[in-house]
Amino acid sequence: MKDNLVLRVNNLSKEFTNNNETNEVIKDLSLSVEENTFTCILGPSGCGKTTLLRCIAGFEDYAGEIFVDDVLCKEPGIDRIMVFQDFNQLFPWKTVIGNIKFALKKNGVTDASEQEKIAKEMLEKTHLSGFEDYYPHQLSGGMKQRVAIAKALALKPRIILMDEPFAALDAMTRTELQNEVLKIFEENNITFIFITHNIQEAIMLGDRIIVLGLGGEVLIDEENHIQKPVTPASNGYGDLWKKLHDSLYLAKR
């Protein structure tokens, strides 16, 4: 038993009821995540990846227990910050830096110059210096996602939850952001749980890869030892890709 577990999900079950029809999306899922690791979760569309992340974030009711640092959590909180896939997650009525400062202000950083300092530092990390006073509607999708990441970092959460944050970006911007996230992960002590349906993205980012099947069944759960930075030419890439691809293909049926 490892003692540096930051997240434990015990016997999670989640069902949705629509018009008297019950859809059991996640059945009795258990998993745990170690501190300062990068876990990628793959799975076919509709298998419950988003639902799992939303349960962890505290946005849904569910059966089972979720612990962060051995504390039972049912409500949302800044120990688990969610970066959504939707670009429009920033508050449009606040500037880029305003979004970050506001989150800090509401969480104990009362000194304005301290808020400013932290926000600027995080924006620098995400290559957004110079865009502090822009409003979200003046930014590209990739930049909005960068701000969301900067905001998450500023709050120093125990876990950053990312739900296909780059899925709607063009290939070039996506690669850029993947590299930046990887760098942030390597330079800071943060735990990432990153959902994707892109196999290459999972291999590139994750040091642990989980494949979920329908009903949230864990089909594959293994460490990714491929040396970073990963390219398709990396040793072991082809084998891992095939293994993940096959299990995804089977899961779909």
Binding site: A57, G58, F59, E75, P76, G77, I78, R80, I81, M82, F84, D86, N88, Q89, L90, F91, P92, W93, F102, A103, K106, N107, Y135, P136, H137, Q138, L155
Partner: protein
């Protein structure tokens, strides 16, 4: 020249329309085209212009039109302030308490259908003819449409803003003030627009019907001009009512919109 015309086409069109309209008016008026009563029905522009000045200099019953405008605006402001404040408080409570929401939503649907002016006789029976009655009418005119807009605004806020708010530990009142209100700004501003317009109309009508001696307003003034057959003064007062309305619309509401939802990219 051509590009100048293109750029300012809306403005030029309006100006041409006004000039043509006034020319026809003057032609009909000076030429007595409506028979011997023409001067009463359509006083000449010059007469209306003189009456406009006279309204302010001489006024009625020893008081300049400024006093009447001031009285109306004061009642309007007090009523709008109370009405808007109540709309925010009640709509905010609806977010925090579900039972309250069902009841309030129901009340809004019902009272929104009731023209304030129809309610006035009842209110007067209870309170007598007093300034507070007209303030009550203004509050009634603005409270329900404003609440309807705020409630609709709240229920159409993207879920992601509320979740992002909860994620940074906002709850209860904090969530309402920091997320619900700005996120519903588009609806709130359109509520302001329709609420103020209703209140303004309701106010003038109420003053015309139940002019209150202790606080004579624009409606009372225009009604006195009518009974005394001072038709040029009547038209001049109509002009004042339009000017006040335009001032609120373009001098107050438009800047509010420009500094909020337009700046934030929430409307185009």
């Amino acid at each position: 020249m051509n590009s100048f015309m293109k750029k300012h086409k809306p403005l030029i069109t309006k100006l041409i329309f006004i000039v043509v309209f006034l020319s026809i008016w003057e032609y009909v008026s000076i030429g007595n085209k409506l028979g011997p009563k023409t001067e009463i029905i359509l006083p000449s522009l010059g007469a209306i212009g003189k009456a406009f000045v006279k309204n302010f200099v001489q006024g009625y019953a020893g008081q300049s039109l400024w006093i009447y405008i001031g009285n109306s605006m004061w009642i309007l402001l007090v009523g709008l302030f109370i009405g808007i404040l109540l709309a925010f408080v009640f709509s905010g409570l609806s977010i925090i308490n579900e039972t309250f929401r069902y009841i309030y939503d129901f009340m809004v649907s019902i009272f929104d259908l009731l023209p304030g002016i129809a309610l006035l006789p009842v209110v007067i029976i209870i309170f007598g003819i007093r300034v507070e009655v007209i303030i009550f009418l203004v509050v009634h005119s603005v409270l329900w449409p404003m609440s309807r807009n705020i409630l609709d605004g709240f229920s159409s806020i993207p879920r992601i803003f509320i979740e992002a708010g909860k994620n940074i530990n906002l709850r209860g009142l904090d969530l309402v003030l920091s997320i619900y209100l700005p996120a519903a700004a588009t609806h709130i501003i359109s509520g302001l627009k329709s609420g103020w317009a209703r209140a303004w109309r309701g106010l003038i009508s109420a003053e015309m019907i139940f002019g209150i001696a202790s606080s004579p307003g624009l409606g009372l003034y225009i009604n006195q001009m009518r009974t005394n057959l001072n038709n040029a003064e009547m038209y001049a007062t109509l002009l004042v009512i339009i000017i006040v309305g335009a001032f609120v619309q373009y001098g107050i509401l438009q800047p509010i919109e420009n500094h909020t939802i337009r700046k934030w990219g929430m409307v185009r």
